[in-house]
């Protein structure tokens, strides 16, 4: 079966579509490279790949404005690349070198960028949800019009602190978009085995928070939902929930035995719903781009990723004295 067609027609979107394609492809290739480097022993510990979920962050970044903030869990490489952080710094953090965003002291799960308003990179499932509401609290306190994109998974959606946060975010009308990236598996536990009601986007109902489900394999649909949610927050109407249905092709982390789902299930998603292939097909079928033009983009991305892998390998080891810095400000 062919890739499900993303139904978009407008020619004015050509620039956007090409950017979506580029940004999603960068994440895909970056993550594939990270997987390789992990296999070579250059990346250690936990490494959670974002492959399959690229349309979520790329779509939502298209809805963000300057000054907007974002915060997420440990599956964070895609979010960093999508908000414009330097792939070299991200990859060098994965290899634990001094050129990494956290000087090698954070690792895959803990990177931050004040400049890009990226607030991590958090390893405790669900903990980033109140933190994200806190970022929005600061925006409201300082009376600017920024919005915070607070990402968490379907697994985290069962943590108690998420609902403590929903309550306060609604009560205080905080400008926060709760983005639930529902990739259908909380580590190895399928949603139907962990979650009593499958419509996670309705979980704000009890607090008066509007929510909607979005096709997370369609980057344009994600962007449109993001624009709507951000407008709601910027208008001072309080929080908004987007449950974005997506799928992770790879394991939970690099050490996932993948016993909880079939190879066929994964293969079916890849062949029928891949968000990058969908945009590629659209670009060609609508004659926005030629195959040749797309190949040029592919080559550029490959080059960026190869260079960042080189940078991450060559970046010097962290000096021993760094062990004792940044403990106190």
């Amino acid at each position: 079966m062919a890739i499900k067609k993303v139904k978009r027609k407008s020619t004015e979107e050509k620039g956007d579509l090409i950017k979506f394609y580029r940004d999603m492809l960068l994440i895909r290739r970056f993550e594939e490279k990270a997987g390789q480097l992990y296999g070579m022993g250059l990346i250690g510990g936990f490494c959670h790949l974002y492959i399959g979920q690229e349309a979520v962050v790329v779509g939502l970044e298209a809805a963000a404005k300057e000054g907007d903030k974002r915060i997420t869990s440990y599956r964070d490489h895609g979010h960093m690349l999508a908000c414009g952080m330097d792939p070299n710094g991200v990859m060098a953090e994965l290899t634990g070198r001094s050129g990494g965003y956290s000087k090698g002291k954070g690792g895959s799960m803990h990177m931050f960028s004040k400049e890009k308003h990226f607030y991590g990179g958090h390893g405790i499932v669900g903990a980033q949800v109140p933190l994200g509401a806190g970022l929005a609290f600061a925006d409201k306190y300082m009376e600017n019009k920024s919005v915070t994109f607070t990402y968490f998974g379907d697994g985290a959606a069962n943590q108690g602190q998420v609902y403590e946060t929903f309550n306060m975010a609604a009560l205080w009308e905080l400008p926060v978009i709760f983005v639930i990236e529902n990739n259908q598996y909380a580590m190895g536990t399928a949603q139907e085995r962990s979650t009593s009601s499958p419509e996670i986007y309705t979980r704000g109902d009890a607090f008066g928070i509007k929510g909607e489900a979005v096709d997370g394999m369609d980057v344009v649909a994600v962007r449109d939902a993001g624009v709507k949610a951000a407008a709601h927050c910027r208008a001072g109407k309080g929080p908004y929930i987007l449950e974005i249905k997506t799928y992770r092709y790879r394991g939970h982390s690099m050490s996932d035995p993948a016993k909880y789902r079939t190879r066929e299930e994964v293969q079916k998603m890849r062949s029928q719903r891949d968000p990058i292939e969908a945009i590629r097909t659209l670009l060609v079928s609508e004659k926005h781009s030629t195959e040749e033009e797309i190949k040029i983009i592919d080559r550029e991305i490959k080059e960026i990723v190869n260079l960042c892998a080189e940078y991450a390998k060559e970046s010097p080891e962290v000096p021993a004295e760094e062990l004792w810095t940044d403990i106190y400000a």
Binding site: F112, K114, A329
Partner: protein, 451 residues
Amino acid sequence: MTTEILMPALSPTMEEGKLSKWFIKEGDKVSAGDIIAEIETDKATMEFEAVDEGTVTKLIVAEGTDGVLVNSAIALITDENSEDAIDKKVSNLKAQTDTNLSKAEAKNQVKPLEENKPESNPAVQTKTQTVREAIRDAMAEEMRRDETVYLIGEEVAEYQGAYKVSQGLLDEFGAKRVIDTPITEHGFAGIAVGSAFAGLRPIVEFMTFNFSMQAIDQIINSAAKTLYMSGGQMGAPMVFRGPNGAAARVGAQHSQDYAAWYAHIPGLKVVQPYSASDAKGLMKTAIRDDNPVIFLENEILYGKSFEVPLLEDYTVPFGKANIWREGTDATIVSFGIGMQYTLEAAEQLQADGVSVEVIDLRTLRPIDYETIIKSVEKTNRCVTVEEGFPIGSIGNHLSAVIMERAFDYLDAPVINCTGKDVPMPYAANLEKLALTTTAEVISAVKKVIYK
């Protein structure tokens, strides 16, 4: 028959209160359940009901009287008309209440003994203040100085603070900066940490640090570790504060001392003041500090008065212990409410001819090791005093440091006086046994000096 109406105890730690208002006057008839007075405790202002019926024959304590001791007679209700008998009884009771009042005053006035402290420097003017007032003043001063400082927690605003520490702050700073939360410690601690990442300077009040257990993941994993994990890019400049340790008869889940727990964590700073002047100076330092600070207060100390320097901007630095009294025979190291037992013990030991040097650590992270080591090198003996559980206590840690750095100076093993290794019991007699006592401190000192 005449019945005495006694000053009620309306909170676990209440020893005295203010009779702020009478709703009855002499000659009124009252029935059980009638509201007869308004009483202000250390925690709140409460209405007080009559439990007997009869005619109010005498209001012994005048409206507006402060420092009325619990269980002292405040009024008489009777159905007899023997004026003489009543007058006699009233004058007796009044004399008794007056003595009680002056006793209460004397008990609550403590003067620090150390000489280099501003409050003991005759050139610096001081005023007598409770620890509660000192903490509130410190917060108010810092909130006036810095717009990004805000206070958040349960009952901090409209209720004026569960222990009245935030009294008046809502009026002065408004609901934007003095924020009542739902009962949801994990959530609001996380929101405060997030706001600190984005540049605000929250003061998070826990109604008691026992409730911080609900939020401990956000305190440790988010607030304390982010600066390091981000390679120095962002951290959480904020204060977590509230009463810590045992109050009085509140049972196992409301009585724990978390000093050692939080002092364990790199990335946190931990403060546990004893005096009002330290509470004020350290709180101002805590709010200005760019790191997460755990500020451990004590419910029993809230109402205690000390001299606080009248300086426009009085701060006390972290990592500097205070020598409360100098001595030559043994060193006692303590902090927070442990200082109360320590100072009592030192006083009694002095009468026995034993000269004790008393060190108040004030901050538990960083700890002023230098002052301790220097003192132990002089006295050659050391006792530590705290209310927390014994295993992994601050005293255990100090013992190890003293052993490593001053082994050759020690003439006796270091003894740790701590709370007992049991959940806090409710029964009054058992609770006393579970806590550290002055007698235990005295006996520990005698043991290390082999007397």
